[in-house]
Symmetry: C2
């Protein structure tokens, strides 16, 4: 493929698979974000390059849909490309293929660029003279739904946890992947033995920090389809950090 | 280096570093065990090969000592080799080097081979006609202490947790790396900002499973040196699953 699509070859390592021998959603998310980073960096839009200009990428939405998860020791590849660029955000897609090159899943992500100092959104058309648009491509299709609306109205958390050392990234925030792991830990092994994870959506809205009390709210909005919110406690109030939709089949 | 040492090139990925930008001990442990797996597999002693003969490797001890942890995006390498083979266990060592080839840490591990069905130890000299001894080498030195004695006498746990989905590996056990993460999560960010992790020892004695209540006991045996035990609750009793020694400087 041309210069617009980045392809990364990977293998499902033993400590990256779950009880069923399949890659975990958290590890897959980690791989996707790494591939996005490599794609952007090699084209002049990486975090390191942006930091020099005082900007950074912020992940806003992530939707992953898998027909099959790689099994322990299986080789697989991730393709990533930019679908479209708007003034304040960009759509980046992913395709996951098994060792034979057959598609086993897709993902969509939405990113904003912010000014590190003000934390305000930056204009993507101003970045490198707007040259990011040259990397948009429709050479690959991404046949999964765009991230949808997630709404949770319950007032009883299903889980309450405190953000610890292993949750925190170099920016001092609970990292995007750990939220996925905390959500997966809500489901019992018995449930997960009988259901296959089909789609996982994340919407990141506010950062949480070391020591924050995180409350997870969950509603089954359709059979085996769950809407979730992770809210941090601030005094007597709460703020939504993350919304998520998890669909099993 | 000759065929006896396996060298693996790695990079400190963004989601694998902590608040300080340094690789976490859990991720380093994961890399070490993967490198051990690759070394063994490429020489006919891997898990996959052993399973065909109904045997598997079991990690008994791991001791890691780091002078410096790789920083985010830094490249580093891991060398691994077999130091010695006894009838019932083998000593495997590791050297971690920075991008310039300078040693930044070492690790020692002790492995047993067991019969998968009986869970009893197997005779390493019987494996492939004892050819594993041909891979022993003293071509590289491992200048760190061997794993030592760990003793905890306190009866008050510092933390109690339940083994969840993300803890469990393909064998249905809490995986070796998650214990390291749970232990690191005992330390406050303030403490970790002021202290550098120097040595981490693990002694694995019994498996724990999904839903097990895990109680962590901790004693500061010398300034900034901690002995720990993770015990699982069985009825009204407890069984030690893991012992650990964590030394900061």
């Amino acid at each position: 493929m041309g210069n617009k699509v980045e392809t990364t070859a990977l293998m499902a390592e033993p400590f990256h698979v779950d009880f069923s021998g399949r890659l975990t959603m958290g590890v897959l998310g980690n791989h996707l974000l790494n591939c996005a980073g490599v794609h952007a960096a090699s084209r002049g839009f990486g975090i390191a390059e942006l930091n020099e200009c005082k900007y950074t990428w912020v992940l806003s939405r992530l939707a992953i849909e898998m027909f099959e998860m790689p099994y322990q020791y299986e080789h697989f590849t991730i393709d990533t490309w930019v679908e479209s660029v708007y003034r304040l955000f960009t759509n980046r897609n992913f395709r996951i293929c098994d060792k034979d090159g057959t598609s086993i899943g897709y993902a969509r992500s939405i990113w904003a660029m912010i000014d590190v100092a003000s934390r305000k959104p930056a204009d993507l058309f101003q970045l490198h003279g707007g040259s990011i648009v040259e990397y948009c491509t429709d050479e690959l299709d991404c046949p999964i739904d765009r991230p949808g609306r997630i709404k949770v109205s319950t007032t009883d958390p299903v889980s309450v946890l405190t953000a610890r050392y292993s949750d925190i990234d170099i920016n001092g925030h609970v990292n995007s992947i750990r939220y996925i792991e905390h959500i997966m830990d809500l489901f019992s092994l018995d449930y997960l033995k009988d259901h296959i994870l089909k789609r996982f959506e994340m919407a990141y809205s506010a950062e949480s920090y070391y020591g924050d009390e995180l409350r997870i709210y969950q509603e089954e909005t359709a059979p085996d389809s769950f809407d979730l919110e992770i809210r941090k406690k601030i005094g007597e109030k709460e703020e939504v950090c993350v919304k998520s939709k998890v669909i099993f089949k």
